[in-house]
Symmetry: C2
Amino acid sequence: MSSEKEFLNTYRQDDYPRPSVTADIVAFTIRAEESENYRQNSRTKLSLLLIRRGGHPFKDCWALPGGFLNPGETIEQCALREAEEETAVRPDALMSVGLFSEPNRDPRGWVISNAFVSIISEERLRWKPGDDASDAQWFDVDFTQEENGDFILVLTHGDIRLRAVLTEEGSSFGRSSFAIKDSGGIAFDHARIIATALTALRSGAKEFAYLFDFLPETFTLAQLQNVQETIMNISVLPANFRRKIASLVEETDEYTRGAGHRPAKLYRRKR
Amino acid sequence: MSSEKEFLNTYRQDDYPRPSVTADIVAFTIRAEESENYRQNSRTKLSLLLIRRGGHPFKDCWALPGGFLNPGETIEQCALREAEEETAVRPDALMSVGLFSEPNRDPRGWVISNAFVSIISEERLRWKPGDDASDAQWFDVDFTQEENGDFILVLTHGDIRLRAVLTEEGSSFGRSSFAIKDSGGIAFDHARIIATALTALRSGAKEFAYLFDFLPETFTLAQLQNVQETIMNISVLPANFRRKIASLVEETDEYTRGAGHRPAKLYRRKR
DNA sequence: CAAATAGTGTCTCTAAGACAATATCAC
DNA sequence: GTGATATTGTCTTAGAGACACTATTTG
């Protein structure tokens, strides 16, 4: 009978086959559209960051940012590092959406990936619109279910339009999982990851937990409502939204100015 | 510029360091206690399966069942395979609770683990009580929060009593994460995994989604209520529970018999 | 009959949703 | 003033929780 020390000295990890492990980042932000009317508040869109791949495989296709797990770090640290490296901003929130481990999901070999939703506030987002030479771009997100049950994911950036078709494969424990019918040109199984992340984002938005992460330190209640409506693709009555959110925010002394209508009080998140 | 085919031919995955990947199973069931009174329905306990480790590291300690991810299978398939191998029964439900990737969580080296909650119905559970020679045993679960905020996890099987102390480390997006203060002799970081799994189980039990998985095909509403109460450690009024569950079940023509009180109608899950 | 659970009816309170009404600013 | 949003108030309704009461079985 050998001691634990002896055992560990003779133990060789390389005897077993091992996969490469990556963290993929599904980074969302809310962006304002141009207002066509000086009185009207600007409408907002949910946007997602994609990176054009410079090398094989899926060269020139759009993909989620991400990278390999390094020795000595946790998968969360890896996600944070990759998010910062590739988006140049520190995310305001990070949430795991699961491990994707289909054996053939990566043509390079055995690569499994833990996906994370990352939220970047409008405020932190400093990229100039029109920098279209960059390999990283924000795409507008449209994710809806068709009559026949299929889910359609459309990502748009200027003339670029990626359209993926997915089916829902039995959801276990409330987490639905998707299968790709048509990747729409999105690299790897990333259409599937994006669909899963969007579902997680929407189901969480009911609880207001991270709506705040999309906004600056202070905000109006209409902005906060707007975030929820944009993410969940619904609309609610302002009066009712105010009541529900009231206990989670606190007033400041500030007001918005310069809008063509009654100024709104600025609020901050109550801790 | 090389083609994608050439690229893949020259790509060597072994150039990058890779972790071993495992799936760990947190298998729960509901077990009935002996009734001390012929009239009284038996009380139930939430139980968890642990395995006594026969080899190093953590030799003779209790640990979660689990095993390495094999090439060609998904982590879900791996979890299902390991669950069947080590518990001898096919789980009635399986839910991921996240990837545990602390660099030093396993003394053998770089091993990361995706944990799964597995539910085994009372019906499928055929093990005889008293088979205490086996390396796999069901432990009664007690998980509560102390005044000072610490969480105490107590696992009991006969004379064996494992008592771990954990603290809650900021919960992001509703998923709370724990740090181990005292493992109580439970192997690896498994106390932490169990605490996380229990939290996930409890928060999901509100929606009734998998309460059915703990029970046979047909059951009484009191049994179903009992499952919820046992998992969540609460009690609710029968009248109210019936109203809430009514739309999810359908009647059968069968009744319980032989109890020292009014027979109960058997129900089945409505699909 | 006694003890225990099974099952029904109903009251109250809260919260959600719908909608009406008023307030305030920039032009 | 006009057009837009901000903000408050109130009505209705659905659901949760509390509780009282009846029904049915076995020893």
